[in-house]
């Protein structure tokens, strides 16, 4: 789709080409307000897609729980490292 040219910083992440990634990151809004608004938008997108529907499924919260499990594993990795079975992989 050839839309009118959009400045790089405002493109969605999936539309940004690899070479433009640096400019894209530089142009994003990192002020506290910007961060909060980004979090808010992300939350709204997820909520409206998976939870705020008439017939939602388990996926909506299951994905959140799996994400929670994954993140807590990552945060505890330094501690879990000691349970490894082998020293050299």
């Amino acid at each position: 789709m050839a839309d009118r040219p959009v400045p790089i910083a405002e493109k969605r992440l999936m539309d940004v080409k690899l070479g433009e990634l640096g400019t894209w990151l530089g142009g994003r809004d990192f002020t506290p307000n910007g961060l909060i608004s980004a979090i808010r938008k992300g939350h709204d997108r997820y909520y409206n897609k998976y939870i705020n529907v008439k017939k939602g499924g388990i996926g909506g919260i299951a994905m959140l729980l799996v994400g929670y499990v994954a993140i807590s594993y990552i945060w505890e990795y330094d501690h879990i490292k000691h349970d490894r079975w082998r020293k050299y992989h």
């Binding site: 307000n33 909060i36 608004s37 979090i39 808010r40 939350h43 897609k49 998976y50 939870i51 705020n52 529907v53 008439k54 017939k55 939602g56 499924g57 388990i58 996926g59 909506g60 919260i61 299951a62 994905m63 799996v66 499990v69 594993y73 879990i80 490292k81 349970d83 490894r84 079975w85 082998r86 992989h89």
Partner: protein, 252 residues
């Protein structure tokens, strides 16, 4: 289907977003732009598709052109083996716990999912039905109000006839009053004129009587005794003559 329950109770929590988003939230709800009359978009029927409960369908769509249907599964298996072999994911007591919990959760979801979903659907439906009822009631009452208003307008149109009738009434009252007064005036005038006539009649009568009396009196007083005798003698001779005449007639 748990998310359906979340939704049912989520609308209560929706006002309280994540902490710290209060700034953005407040500025969003201030309605600085004029209110738009566009109808609120309806909720989508189904959520975004999720495969096996945890992987969004978009991943499969993303990899389909390059790797076909089995692409994401191969990716998953490869990642899993990599993480196990490099012990990025360490198998310890927690693995067993996680496995048991996952088994129980999957069993619970598969067994009780549909019934919980039906229950949540029923709750939603009840809410919607109630709201619809309120809306229908409001619509009928408003339509009724419109009908009544139209009737009142129609009634108001008849005002001119009402005023004409009233004007007629007033005119009749005035007319009656006027005629009454006219009658009264004529009666009064007639009475006064009658009085005058009676007065004149009385005057004339009295004059006449008085004059007659006076004439009589003067005549009587003027008849001297001598004249009286003469008139009586004449009357007697006349009577005798008359008697003789009638006797003669009777004899014939």
């Amino acid at each position: 289907m748990l998310s359906r329950l979340v939704f049912v109770s989520g609308s209560a929590l929706k006002g309280s977003g994540p902490i710290g988003a209060g700034l953005v939230h407040a500025s969003r709800s201030l309605h600085t732009s004029s209110q738009s009359q566009a109808p609120v978009p309806a909720l989508s029927e189904k959520g975004g598709k999720v495969r096996h409960g945890i992987i969004p369908e978009e991943l499969f769509q993303l990899l389909y052109p390059k790797t076909g249907v089995t692409g994401p599964y191969m990716l998953g298996t490869g990642l899993l083996l990599y993480m196990l072999s490099k012990e990025i994911y360490v198998i310890n007591h927690e693995t067993f716990a996680a496995a048991s919990i996952t088994a129980v959760i999957i069993y619970g979801v598969k067994k009780f999912g549909p019934s919980v979903a039906a229950f949540a659907d029923k709750l939603n439906e009840d809410k919607v039905a109630k709201a619809q009822e309120v809306k229908d009631l409001a619509m009928t009452s408003l339509a009724q109000a419109i009908e009544d208003e139209k009737k009142e307008q129609w009634r108001a149109e008849g005002r001119s006839m009402l005023f004409d009738a009233k004007r007629n009434n007033v005119a009749m009252l005035l007319e009656t009053n006027y005629r009454e007064r006219l009658h009264m005036v004529t009666n009064e005038v007639k009475r006064r004129l009658d009085y005058q006539i009676a007065l004149q009649n009385l005057h004339r009568q009295m004059e006449q009587d008085h004059m007659v009396n006076w004439v009589e009196k003067s005549v009587i007083s003027s008849i001297t005794p001598q004249q009286e005798k003469e008139s009586i003698a004449k009357c007697i001779t006349d009577l005798k003559a008359l008697a003789k005449a009638t006797q003669a007639k009777a004899a014939v």
